[in-house]
């Protein structure tokens, strides 16, 4: 039996269909042991802020997949707030933007955040998901 390449990964996205598909991909390809799901930036930020307060990096996701357009707190506001909680060097895992938007200005803006490893445009295929979890290189 193979060990999943990632212990804990996290998806921040309000699209239920997409989230369910990611779950399936992760199960099928055994990409991680546990997948955290947040429906918007606020839920994720609350979770991460608590982790930082407890200084408990062991339960910090190694991989974060962040959507941009979400209710309550969108991806941009999440990034803005999250960069006040942590810096790129303190971040134990990698954070990827995964969005349907291919707007060049949005891509540039996202990459200007030190926290963002890369900007990936949906759709990601199975191979790209595998690459993300295994090598953590841009898909």
């Amino acid at each position: 039996m193979t060990t999943p390449p990632v212990k804990l990964a996290c998806v921040i996205d309000d699209d239920n269909v997409y989230v369910n598909l990611v779950k399936k991909v992760v199960e099928l390809k055994k990409l991680c042991e546990k997948l955290l799901i947040f429906r918007n930036g606020k839920e994720a930020l609350d979770y991460f802020s608590a982790l930082y307060e407890d200084r408990d990096a062991s339960v910090f996701p190694e991989l974060i997949l962040l959507d941009l357009n979400m209710p309550v707190m969108n991806g941009w506001d999440f990034l803005q707030n999250f960069s006040q909680v942590t810096t790129a060097s303190e971040l134990p895992g990698s954070l990827y933007i995964v969005s349907s938007s291919d707007d060049a200005s949005e891509i540039d803006k996202a990459k200007s955040y030190g926290l963002v490893s890369d900007y990936l445009i949906k759709p990601l295929n199975l191979m790209q998901f595998e690459n993300l979890f295994f090598k953590r290189v841009s898909a």
């Binding site: 399936k24 429906r39 990601l124 199975l126």
Partner: protein, 363 residues
């Protein structure tokens, strides 16, 4: 008897010709003689009666009330030696407002003391009104353009989401053999098609806004439309126990596209109920009023409210939702704003989280 040029500052022939040609009136205040003068063209522009004697004290009467403070300041500065040149809203003797270009220059004696002021004012109402119109259209076009770009962007984003989900589902289907998993993936295809249909119906809703604009304006009675809207929302109102108060006595009707008015009221009331505060019964105030020539409709609620400092510019954008609400779609206010702006109106929102929101429409 011929007056000397000193006594009658407007006696020069060319001066008069020029005044008539440019519709410019001249005035003068003589501090020593304590007298005010107004030339023929000035009298014509201000529509003063023949026997009217201008006086220093009631000069302000020829300016719109909101300009008094500024005009007073300009005169005072001129009386200490600073000339002015400005555009000002003036008021004729018969109380008609008009835009004018006005200048004032101090008159000095040999000791360089100010002994009077003289100036010219030119009726430029037609030009100014045109300019304001142009500015309005420009900002309207700009705002519509901005929203169209937002719309195109959002729609492509939305369609792409469905397409990418579909692609991933099909890929998964290929690599899965378990029948139960297959059934789940079929369900996701069904969900995607539902999502696609919803997007398309939003698209056609937005497109139909533009089409209905050509239906033209008819006399719309606020109360009538509201009753129709309340009727169609009957179940939601009963379920939420919403209290709805209205008062259209100040403005009972307006020339408007009936379908728009219905949709505007429907959207604002539906939102007020949908985003009600969990701790209280929704209370919605709807009323019309006028301010001068401007006509307004206000819809106030005591619901969840929105943090405008955070979301301000996005509230009227498509597919922007702010509350974690399963029925939140993000199309209603986008359409409402479009309908209002197509008919050259504006919509404004004031809101405080946990207190409620107030939407003000200027027709």
């Amino acid at each position: 008897m011929k007056k000397s040029a000193l006594e009658d500052p407007f006696s020069d022939f060319y001066y008069k010709e020029l005044a008539q040609l440019t519709a410019a009136g001249s005035w003068k205040v003589d501090f020593l003689a304590k007298k005010s003068y107004l030339d023929e063209e000035g009298r014509r522009i201000l529509k003063v009666p023949e026997n009217f004697r201008p006086s220093l004290n009631d000069g302000l009467r020829f300016y719109a009330p909101e300009e008094h403070e500024r005009v007073f300041e300009l005169y005072n500065q001129c009386a200490t030696g600073t000339p002015f040149s400005t555009t000002v809203k003036m008021l004729s003797y018969d109380q008609k407002l008009f835009w004018a270009r006005a200048t004032g220059n101090p008159i000095f004696n040999e000791k360089k003391e100010v002994i009077g002021i003289r100036g010219v004012f030119q009726d430029m109402n037609a030009e100014k009104v045109k300019q304001l119109d142009l500015q309005n259209s420009l900002s309207l076009v700009e705002s519509q353009n901005k929203r169209l770009i937002n719309f195109a962007h959002i729609v492509s984003h939305n369609l792409r989401s469905h397409a990418s989900n579909l692609q991933l589902t099909l890929e998964l289907l290929k690599s899965i053999e378990d029948e139960k998993e297959e059934a789940e993936l079929m369900q996701s295809i069904y969900d995607i098609s539902k999502g696609l249909n919803a997007t398309i119906s939003h698209l056609s809703e937005v497109a139909s806004v533009q089409n209905k604009a050509t239906d033209g304006r008819k006399t719309v009675r606020f109360e009538e439309i509201l009753q129709e809207v309340l009727h169609s929302l009957n179940r939601k109102i009963i379920k939420s126990e919403a209290q709805i108060y209205y008062d259209f006595s100040e403005l009972e009707e307006i020339a408007y596209v009936p379908a728009y008015m219905e949709s505007i009221l429907l959207n604002l009331i539906t939102n007020a109920i949908k985003y009600k505060h969990p701790d209280r019964v929704p209370s919605i105030n709807i009323f019309t009023y006028t301010e001068g020539e401007d006509r307004f409709l206000k819809v106030q609620d005591n619901g969840l409210g929105i943090d405008l400092e955070k979301y301000g510019d996005r509230i009227f954008n498509m597919y922007q939702t702010f509350h974690d609400h399963e029925e939140a779609v993000g199309v209603g206010l986008f359409i409402t704003k479009n309908q209002i702006e197509i008919l050259k109106g504006t919509i404004m929102v004031e809101s405080e989280p946990q207190k409620g929101s107030t939407f003000t429409i200027k027709f």
